[in-house]
């Protein structure tokens, strides 16, 4: 399953965003941010505490089941009064949730989290960014491992000179994806596909912002 990976914004930034806004309604989400412990029930409660000690009035709080779902509006309907009293909604969901709520309620929304990437849980409690939806998938030639996303520089012709002991030049805790691809292709007996020159990538797969409409049946 894919998950939206988030991290709490620095306290100073949240303070700045809430400056002059005194009555706050807090919203968490029961899905990804509950799993990553950035916007589930305990975090929402802790945020309430934090705001109270800073002299804010928390008009209410809730954890919606799936913030990015279109049913969120109905769920939040039960909190109409508390939401209406608030100067702003402090939202502890990923940015998909923040935007869904902003569209549905037409209220001032403040994200409390930064959305880092769409991750796959690769081991218990470990999430990796493995695809950035580039629109022109090339992993048919890289053993099913994505260098566009997993190489820090998105290189498609092999490693840069910074690779060190199989790790990436920016972080000894991150694998150099070209070592992984090399090993995988060797295993599969398909190393020739790494030897093939790849021309500069096509960035025109789906010009931003992406849009997809289901064709009429």
């Amino acid at each position: 399953m894919i998950r939206s990976i988030t991290q709490k914004k620095p306290e100073k930034e949240i303070e700045r965003l809430l400056k002059g806004l005194n009555r706050i309604f807090i919203i968490g989400c029961g899905t990804c941010v509950t799993l990553t412990r950035t916007g589930g029930d305990p975090e929402v409660r802790a945020m309430k505490e934090e705001l109270s000690t800073k002299g804010k009035m928390v008009t209410g709080q809730t954890v919606v089941p799936v913030a990015c779902d279109n049913l969120t509006r109905e769920f939040l309907g039960d909190f109409g009064e508390q939401i209406n009293q608030a100067d702003a909604l402090l939202i502890m969901t990923c940015a998909f949730g923040v935007q869904s709520i902003a569209r549905q309620l037409s209220r001032m929304v403040i994200p409390a989290l930064d959305t880092l990437f769409i991750g796959k849980e690769t081991a218990v409690g470990l999430f990796d960014e493995i695809c950035t939806q580039c629109g022109t998938c090339i992993i048919g030639e890289t053993g099913g491992i994505c260098p566009v996303t997993n190489c820090h520089k998105g290189l498609v012709n092999g490693p840069c000179g910074g690779t060190n002991h199989g790790k990436c030049e920016i972080d000894v805790n991150k694998d150099c994806v070209w070592t992984l691809i090399y090993n995988r292709l060797m295993e599969l007996g398909r190393i020739d596909s790494m030897r093939k020159y790849q021309k500069p990538r096509n960035h025109l797969g789906e010009p931003k912002p992406g849009k997809f409409k289901l064709p009429e049946a």
């Binding site: 520089k153 998105g154 290189l155 498609v156 092999g158 490693p159 060190n164 199989g166 030897r195």
Partner: protein, 295 residues
């Protein structure tokens, strides 16, 4: 017409290149001084391109300065800060101004430099940049459009002979050669027996190879490189030798060691020449060459 550097490569002589780094700012005095010092001693001077992702005076501007002062220049170009439009445009500009040696690099991560929050580009990589040079030489740009007035370059690339793991690096190296690299300046090598092994492999290709040599300035500097620079391994006996230098004599020791290494590479005809990097100590390059018996 081949560049002077290309002629030197083809002549069979032991080629020596070095590098000069443009300043952070517009005070070009020291930069000019380095060019003045080196221009008649080396076969060509590389001008670095925001080395280590630290913002500086541009390599293209620095290359023009070398040219104006009568030196032979190798323009370093990384793919870190420019997309394919900007890189092609700069190649047009360079060629039109007679800057016709180019070293094609991918470039370091922006995160290693002094503008860590900047957006990095990497629209292309080193092998694609080499191919771009070759494509433009046919009179067309990457979009397949005719160029009104073409370009001509002696294009090169780098390799890390002691990369770990080595095999993926060598695949990339071969791709660079196929993409059109005529010369290679290697990452710094210190273990010359290991370098010879690399050359045994590399000799099968039609490419000129200049061994990268970084001047050791102190034992801690050598240890720092071992720890922090990918693919650079200073053997323990060299570190010990550096450490044995009397106080205040470390640099002289480094020059002696560097000169001795170059001499051995030259005498044993290990490769086609050397690329001397004396980062921050450019004025010592003539001393190194003297210690190597080259001048």
């Amino acid at each position: 017409m081949p560049t002077k550097f290309k002629e030197a490569l083809e002549s069979g002589k032991f080629v020596v290149t070095s590098e000069v780094a443009p300043p952070k700012g517009t005070n070009l005095e020291k930069f000019k001084h380095h060019i003045e010092l080196l221009k008649d001693k080396v076969d060509a001077m590389n001008v670095t391109d925001h080395q280590s992702s630290v913002m500086r005076y541009p390599s293209l501007g620095g290359a023009m300065m070398v040219k104006e002062m009568g030196g032979e220049v190798i323009l370093q170009m990384t793919c870190r800060d420019r997309n394919r439009l900007a890189l092609q445009a700069d190649l047009l500009f360079a060629s039109s101004r007679g800057i016709q040696n180019v070293l094609c690099l991918t470039g370091d991560s922006v995160m290693l430099g002094d503008h860590k929050e900047a957006k990095s580009v990497f629209d292309m990589d080193s092998s694609q940049l080499l191919k771009t040079v070759r494509t433009m030489e046919t009179g067309k740009d990457l979009g397949g459009n005719e160029l009104d007035g073409g370009v001509s370059f002696c294009a090169g690339a780098i390799v890390t002979p002691e990369a770990d793991p080595l095999e993926p690096q060598l695949i990339k190296f071969e791709k660079k050669l196929e993409a059109g690299a005529e010369f290679i300046q290697t990452q710094a090598v210190y273990d010359l027996d290991k370098f010879k092994e690399f050359m045994d492999y590399a000799r099968q290709f039609h490419v000129k190879i200049l061994a990268g040599i970084i001047l050791l300035t102190s034992a801690p500097m050598a240890r720092f490189m071992n720890k922090n620079i990918a693919g650079v391994f200073v053997p323990q006996d060299l570190i010990d030798e550096m450490a044995s230098a009397p106080k205040g004599q470390a640099l002289a020791k480094g020059i002696e060691i560097t000169g001795r290494m170059i001499k051995r590479i030259h005498e044993e005809k290990m490769c086609d020449g050397v690329h001397i990097m004396a980062i921050g100590k450019e004025e010592k390059v003539p001393d190194i060459m003297e210690a190597a018996g080259l001048i």
